[in-house]
């Protein structure tokens, strides 16, 4: 169950004859894989038979293939390694689609190995047959159907290479059952990958020089960093911190990039975007030079494009050329890996005779401090009812000095977690950003806990999301993974309800859950531990109990039912048209989005 025991007992093997099923296991070992998540079925039984007869690969049995995928994503995101899932044909593969698309949108390296009906039956509508490569083609970076056992080893190694290099992403290898039984030649990982695939790692030095020159003219700069920094590795986060130190530029980050720059750092503005801080969004709007590092101008970030940072020159560092100029036109594109580009950038900055315009930047900071003083994350405390923001403040206070990893589901709780939980390191924050998959957090927490058995792993959840993959509690109990599911329970699909209040005349169509399970009894039924907390005064003790229990915990935190998530950029509005909590009267909320904005959402 350790993530870091690879290498020692997994020296690459030699060319030799073996069955396809043996090749799958051997390739995993040769790729340094120690843990995989999966679910057996008819078309993968030969591979499961091989797994049974070895002890190098630890297999985690989930309760639904979607859980395997999200667990593998959490494992990958928290370790920087490739996550691996193993599923059977037909329904096994179709259940894998959600996590594959999730990983595609958030650039998570994931290898999915799926069983397929025997090659002679492909196309005959055989039992548990589906067109797996057809279905997963648009939700993977690449996929393969292996029809000849002699191709299998090469394809598996290529799959790992494609998943983890360039802009990382999910890949799928479909292995028919007869190929698993057939005997062929296994080849160890090769150094020379296919000729058509060679992502650009090193940035163009002329472009970097141009970027540096632009940065040195900046009077109102901002750094906007994203998930690409995390994907690039620890070195990229280190260099990012060095760059901020060197320039004194303010820095904000997307949801996916939290932790790359520490939240306690003095240049930190908080997250930007739809539920970002006032200071982050205003800084973006009024800046004159924007340095985008590994982010992609997502529509939740930019607000109305025509009002997005209208007076700035924009530099964009991205490993994926198709991200450049996709949503927002930039002035200086730099295509390459974040760490490589930042290294060049810092070297050029240090060597430059011109220095950043200290005086102008100081003035810029005093403007930013005025924005900060609006305290856009403030909320009204209540001594009888737990405010969700308060719950997260206490959770943060009581867990920040521990070795903590946070996952989330999707909705209001996710945004509050991003606002009120503060991250000092990369790879500590696992959330479904691009696809927005409710049900991501619980299995992701399982994956993180498998990779970090001794750490504190908390899924900040909502009462609706958590029920989508609740079955993985059973897997957590089986593998003694003491994940903590901290449910902000308001009995609503809170974000849906908030949008209905904003857009649909407060007609709360099907966003209220009338028959919630008793989460405490549910935890006990699974063999875990249940806690319920209803009063602010009891919260600290209850959280402490959650931390101390060495079992999976469902924490039913009853919070104010109708709290809204602010600040907010209503759709169709620009960064400087935020709705702040102190201005968000019921009337303002009801009229925040005009008819045109309603179409955008």
């Amino acid at each position: 169950m350790k993530a870091d025991k690879q290498d020692s007992d997994s020296r690459p093997s030699q060319r030799r004859e073996m069955t396809g099923a043996e090749m799958v296991v051997q390739a995993l070992i040769d790729q340094g894989v120690t843990d995989i998540f999966g679910y057996p079925g008819g078309a993968v039984l030969p591979i499961y038979d091989e797994l049974f007869q070895q002890d190098k690969i630890n297999h985690i049995l989930v309760r639904h293939e979607q859980g395997a995928g999200h667990a593998a994503e959490g494992y990958a995101r928290s370790t920087g390694k490739v996550g691996v899932m193993l599923v059977t044909s037909g329904p096994g593969a179709t259940n894998a689609v959600t996590p594959l698309q999730d990983a595609l949108m958030d650039s998570i390296p994931l290898v999915c190995i799926s069983g397929q009906v025997p090659t002679s039956l492909i196309g005959s509508d055989a039992f548990q047959e589906c067109d797996t490569v057809g279905i997963t083609r648009p939700c993977t970076k690449h996929n393969w159907l292996v029809k000849d056992v002699n191709d299998l080893a090469r394809v598996l190694h290529e799959a790992f290479h494609v998943a983890k290099t360039g802009r990382p992403g999910p890949v799928l290898v479909d292995v028919p059952k007869d190929v698993q039984f057939a005997t062929g030649m296994y080849t160890p990982p090769e150094v020379s990958p296919r000729t058509s695939y060679h992502p650009k790692i090193q940035g163009d030095i002329e472009a970097i020089k141009q970027a540096v020159a632009l940065m040195l003219t900046a009077k109102r700069p901002v750094i906007y960093s994203g998930g690409g920094v995390i994907n690039s590795g620890n070195e990229a986060s280190k260099l990012l911190r060095e760059l901020v130190e060197l320039t004194n530029f303010p820095i904000t980050s997307t949801l996916m990039g939290l932790g790359a720059y520490p939240a306690s750092g003095k240049n930190w503005l908080g997250m930007l975007g739809m539920h970002g801080t006032y200071e982050a969004n205003m800084t973006m709007h009024d800046c004159d030079v924007m340095l985008n590092i590994g982010a992609r101008f997502d529509d939740r970030i930019t607000g109305r494009i025509s009002g997005f940072s209208p007076n700035s020159k924009k530099i964009h560092i991205d490993i994926d050329p198709s991200s450049i100029n996709k949503a927002v036109r930039v002035d200086v594109p730099v295509i390459g890996d974040v760490a490589h580009v930042l290294e060049d950038m810092i070297r050029l900055l240090r060597a430059s005779s011109t220095k950043p315009d200290e005086k102008a930047i100081d003035q810029w900071w005093s403007q930013i401090d005025r924005w900060r003083s609006r305290k856009s994350l403030s909320y009204t405390r209540n001594k009888d009812v737990i405010m969700p923001q308060y719950a997260l403040e206490r959770l943060y206070a009581l867990t920040k000095d521990r070795d903590t990893y946070i996952t989330t589901e999707v909705g209001q709780h996710q945004m509050w977690a991003a606002q009120f939980y503060h991250f000092e390191k990369p790879n500590r924050w696992m959330t479904s950003g691009g696809l927005g998959t409710m049900g991501y957090g619980l299995p992701a927490a399982l994956g993180v806990q498998i990779a970090h058995p001794d750490s504190l792993v908390i899924d900040i959840a909502g009462d609706a999301s958590v029920q989508m993959t609740m079955q993985e509690m059973s897997a957590a109990v089986q593998y003694e993974a003491p994940i903590k599911i901290f449910i902000l329970n308001n009995q609503y699909m809170g974000m849906v309800r908030q949008w209905q209040q904003l857009l649909h005349g407060n007609r709360l169509s099907h966003s209220y859950t009338e028959a919630l399970p008793d989460f405490v009894k549910l935890a006990e039924a699974y063999g875990g531990h249940g806690i319920r907390c209803e009063k602010p005064g009891d919260l600290d003790d209850a959280i402490q109990e959650m931390i101390d229990v060495k079992k999976p915990v469902l924490f039913d935190c009853r919070v104010a039912n109708l709290a809204n998530c602010f600040p907010m950029i209503p759709s169709g509005k620009a960064h400087n048209e935020m709705l702040l909590p102190d201005e968000a009267t019921d009337d303002a909320v009801a009229n925040a989005i005009d008819a045109k904005g309603r179409q955008l959402v």
Partner: protein, 190 residues
């Protein structure tokens, strides 16, 4: 909230309404492996791009390379996106916008050719007229009975369009067109 917004009209934004769609020809060099065409056309349908013509065949047998020629239409910004998205597909080696390349080379456009088989059935004066016109268009007769001809015609799409239009009243039965094959002028490869 402050009111200093709407300073748009800035050059940095993608002004969709000001850019006019143009037609272009893309050459895509790919590994000839199962599913590669599905990846390419799936990208077009999935992202809402247009395909006006599509031609594909293996061109370098030993290296298992196929060349896909796609005629597509979009704003320059969308065409740029199409090219970059195609380049992301793992078995894609190269993508060249032949129209842009022709501009760079100071040429009016890439050479574009299409082949069509056109079946015409009829008797008497119509039959003679069809044969006369085919000759004028340099179309070859590839099959004939006393009741029909199959003409083989090669040329620009517009020439084939015209030929088909003329054949319509003369007993046109069916048409098969290959789609556009294209290449830039001059000694250099793609």
């Amino acid at each position: 909230m402050n009111a200093q917004n709407l300073a748009s009209g800035s050059a940095y934004f993608i002004a969709k309404e000001t850019e006019l769609p143009v037609t272009t020809v893309l050459s895509v060099l790919v590994d000839n492996e199962p599913g590669v065409l599905a990846r390419v056309i799936g990208l077009f349908s999935g992202r809402g791009y247009n395909i006006e013509s599509l031609t594909v065949s293996e061109t370098e047998h030993e290296q298992h390379l196929s060349r896909i020629t796609i005629v597509t239409r979009g704003t320059p910004h969308i065409l740029d996106q199409i090219r970059h998205q195609l380049e992301r597909i793992v078995p894609v080696h190269r993508v060249v916008d032949l129209s842009v390349r022709a501009d760079e080379l100071g040429q009016s456009g890439p050479i574009q050719r299409e082949l069509a088989l056109v079946k015409v059935a009829g008797l008497g004066e119509h039959r003679n007229e069809a044969l006369r016109l085919a000759d004028a268009f340099h179309a070859k007769v590839t099959d004939a009975t006393t009741e029909h001809f199959i003409f083989e015609i090669t040329g620009k799409g517009s020439k084939i369009d015209q030929f088909i239009a003329i054949m319509k009243p003369l007993g046109l039965v069916e048409i098969c067109r290959t789609g556009v094959a294209a290449m830039n002028r001059g000694p250099m490869g793609m």
